[in-house]
């Protein structure tokens, strides 16, 4: 058995330079021009998760500044920062630090920029102008439409598309061979189908399946099943059967064991709701979605998630019995 330090393969196999990026050819070529010219505008990277936006930003910085690129790059994540004020402080601090001998600017990578409110984006726009002398921003976003126009117009736009089947499968194969993983060829294709061109998801799935043994189509499906805690589905089924206490017990279990918040639970329920595994009359699904949305809204507004979800389960118990009585 292997006894070695194990890294998550998404970290271990992350491309270092632009030429290591196997896909997004067009984008890579444009970025390489910036490296050649030693200059670039602000950039906006848009596209679905796992298509290589942050990876491309890192690779670009790597090629511009060399191995020591991290000292010339500030990485921020809009979802993790506390507010525009902390971002402003960090940007200010960073802009004052020294620049590279060859390149006149430093890079600020702001990930998940589309999660910022419009107000925060306005403040961001001012920051971009204020420090444009010696910094360039790279904004990464899943939904470019959520980025305000004044920012969009200041950035060169790059659209990242989901990876092709060939690219994903080839990469998975490369990793699997390197890690000496036993696998069935069609299992890798299955991973591609499920991950829908999201490389991060695909690699995570491969590593997880490999930790269970030989990677087969079955083991891949097993991973998919396990990644969705089945307690949620069971909880719904029990409530619909009228076993309210059992359902509430499961609710507390998922909240405590997995540390899920009320909002997490609501989202998981929503994901289960329209799956074929859950046997329900279609019109009831719609009613449940409606009620679930109300619960979601209340939790977001700050009301007690345990009480809200208990009410939801109690309601399911009533609805389930009515449906049971009809059929």
């Amino acid at each position: 058995m292997s006894s070695a330090i194990e890294l998550l393969w998404t970290e271990k196999y992350r491309p270092r330079g632009l030429k290591d990026i196997v896909n997004q050819r067009e984008i890579v070529e444009r970025l390489m021009k910036f490296v050649h010219e030693k200059n670039m505008p602000h950039l906006l990277f848009a596209g679905p998760p796992g298509t290589g936006k942050t990876t491309a930003a890192h690779a670009l910085a790597h090629d511009l500044y060399g191995e020591e690129y991290h000292q010339y790059m500030l990485e921020l994540n809009a979802s993790d920062e506390r507010g525009i004020d902390t971002i402003r402080e960090k940007v200010k601090e960073f802009a004052r630090s020294r620049t590279s001998p060859d390149i006149a600017f430093k890079i600020i990578l702001l990930d998940e920029a589309d999660n910022m409110t419009a107000d925060a984006q306005q403040a961001l726009r001012r920051l971009m102008e204020l420090y444009s002398a010696n910094t360039r921003f790279i904004l990464a976003a899943n939904y470019p439409s959520k980025i305000i126009d004044p920012i969009q117009s200041r950035c060169a736009f790059f659209r990242f598309t989901p990876l092709s089947k060939e690219d994903v499968v080839a990469r998975l194969k490369y990793i699997a061979d390197n890690e000496k993983v036993e696998y069935d060829e069609d299992a890798l294709e299955t991973i591609y189908e499920i991950s829908e061109g999201d490389m991060r998801k695909a690699i995570n799935m491969l590593q997880t399946a490999a930790s269970l043994g030989r990677v087969t189509t079955d083991s891949v499906y097993k991973v998919v099943g396990l990644a969705r805690p089945k307690d949620i589905k069971e909880m719904l089924e029990q409530a619909l059967k009228g076993d309210f206490s059992g359902a509430r017990e499961l609710l507390r279990k998922v909240m405590i064991e997995y540390g899920l918040s009320g909002e997490d639970v609501v989202k998981q329920i929503h994901r289960e709701l329209f799956s074929a595994d859950l046997k329900l009359p279609e019109d009831l699904r719609v009613m449940i979605a409606d009620y679930l949305g109300e619960i979601h809204y209340r939790i977001v507004e700050g009301s007690d998630d345990d009480i809200q979800l208990s009410a939801f389960l109690a309601w399911l118990a009533v609805m389930g019995r009515r449906v049971g009585a009809q059929s």
Partner: protein, 498 residues
């Protein structure tokens, strides 16, 4: 996880001598019971045990029943106690001639809670039964001097329970902590005892809430989590008045008059709807009202405090009027588990966040993306996958034991042990390779490795090199700096941004 029996039940005294303090009360109660057991009838056929909550009144009765092998017939506060109920249950038992030698002990808990409205004629009926009872009747009350109990006082043996001494309560909590293997600090126990004014039940509940949630009982925890519970009587009355209310205004008044704040009330109702309403429709209506109450609290907190009045409407009449089809169940009230749960939740979420903040930056993703997209896979790897790979990840990301417990759940010990072994092994290997380097003196990679290790000054990375350097994933490795230096810089950067 320990068994889920609440400590207040787990550590309930089984024998009379396990009841702390109350020597006078014990001896007069035992004398009275022994008269019955000798086949005689004492002058007063009923005894009223009175005193503050949680000093051992009910426990004494239960311990006596247990020790003398008496059949205990218990009618507690949440049961109906109207005249007909008393006649049907108490009357029959009181006049029963024993078929066996086993005597019946009748216990009516919390008689000062028998309300004039809800339990019409209950006390009168009791007065009629007592003078002729053939079996001992025991009543308990917090306040025997209330008007309602006045007629009763002449026909019962009054036995007073005193407030417990702080020392005794602290000693008891200490014994529980020892039994639960809980680290506790004496000052914290004293604080709990003081806050609860000698109420053992409240003390044990608080101890459980803190201990189960945090695994230790320290002053800082206790100071934030424990507050005085001198109002437990008030709570009990409020719950009863709402669940048994026949009119909306009765429930509303009960909630408005309560000294508890609305959030405490909400927590108590949230955990007792299930105990009181048997019909799913009733239960749903009650919860729907509570859920709306909670919504109004959040709206009020947003600045519109006038909205609080709707909170009371929904908790009181909302819950009371929810009962349309069913009876009220005769279950005891339950201490809200929310408090215990919250403490645990805080721990679990803390661990989840600390795992996220360690791993997410290295993957170049936000912690929220990590939680949603990566964490589920880690759970599988840790709970079902190959243990040595999981151990490899533990070392690779320098995860703590608690973080492993969170990720691996039941398999935690296996993973922790494997990670220990792996660290050991890597340490050995790096020592060996260091010796080889020294011996050869010229090995280029060896020098690189030494320099990297020095620069990093951090054990993990030179270990990493020692083990994984051989499986370099990149083919074009020669024109790039070694993995170890690359990671070294990344590591340095991480420290500066965090």
């Amino acid at each position: 996880m320990s068994s889920r029996i609440p400590w207040i039940i787990k550590y309930r005294p089984r024998r009379v001598d396990e009841i702390i303090d109350q020597e006078e009360a014990k001896s007069s109660f035992l004398t009275w019971i022994e008269t019955w057991l000798k086949g005689k009838v004492p002058e007063k056929r009923a005894a009223l045990l009175y005193g503050p909550p949680g000093v051992g009144k009910t426990s004494l009765v239960e311990a006596v029943a247990n020790e003398y092998d008496l059949e205990l017939l218990e009618l507690n506060a949440s049961d109906y106690r109207r005249a007909e109920d008393i006649r049907r249950i108490v009357g029959v038992a009181a006049f029963r001639r024993p078929l066996t030698k086993r005597m019946t002990l009748i216990l009516l808990d919390e008689v000062d809670g028998i309300s004039a409205r809800g339990d019409i004629g209950g006390l009168d009926e009791l007065m009629r039964i007592i003078p002729d009872a053939r079996n001992p009747i025991v009543l308990t009350a917090n306040d025997p001097w209330s008007d309602a109990l006045r007629p009763l006082r002449n026909s019962v043996l009054m036995i007073q329970f005193k407030e417990l001494s702080q020392g005794e309560v602290v000693a008891l909590m200490q014994r529980i902590c020892e039994h639960e293997k809980l680290e506790c600090d004496r000052e914290a126990l004293r604080y709990i005892a003081e806050k609860n004014m000698g109420d053992v039940r409240a003390c044990v509940n608080d101890l459980e809430a803190v201990g189960e949630g945090y695994g230790r009982v320290s002053m800082d925890l206790v100071r934030t989590l424990v507050r005085g519970r001198d109002k437990s009587m008030d709570l009990w009355r409020t719950l009863n008045s709402v669940f048994y209310a026949k009119e909306g205004w009765q429930a509303k008044r009960a909630v408005q008059n309560s000294e508890e704040d609305y959030e405490t009330l909400l927590a108590w109702f949230n955990d007792n709807v299930q105990n009181k309403y048997g019909s799913p429709d009733d239960a749903f209506r009650a919860w729907d009202a509570l859920a709306r109450a909670s919504l109004f609290i959040s709206r009020a907190k947003a600045g519109n405090w006038d909205l609080l009045s709707y909170v009371f409407d929904l908790i009181g009449p909302g819950v009371a009027m929810a009962r349309q089809s069913g009876e009220v169940l005769r279950n005891r009230y339950q201490y809200p588990s929310k408090i215990i749960m919250m403490a645990k939740l805080k721990d679990v979420r803390g661990l989840r966040d600390s795992v996220a903040s360690k791993v997410a930056p290295r993957l170049g993703i936000s912690t929220s993306t990590f939680k949603a997209d990566v964490l589920p896979y880690l759970w599988i790897m840790f709970r079902q996958g190959d243990v040595s790979r999981a151990a490899g990840i533990v070392v690779g990301y320098n995860l703590t034991e608690d973080e492993v417990r969170y990720l691996a759940g039941p398999r935690a010990n296996d993973v922790i042990r494997a990670a220990e072994k792996l660290r050991e092994e890597l340490r050995r290997r790096s020592r060996e390779s260091a010796e080889i380097t020294k011996a050869e003196g010229t090995g280029k990679t060896g020098e690189d490795q030494g320099r990297t290790a020095q620069r990093r000054g951090q054990a993990t990375l030179d270990l990493w090199w020692g083990s994984a350097g051989a499986q370099q994933p990149r083919q074009e490795g020669e024109e790039r700096p070694t993995k170890a230096t690359r990671r070294g810089r990344r590591g340095g950067h991480r420290e500066s941004t965090m």
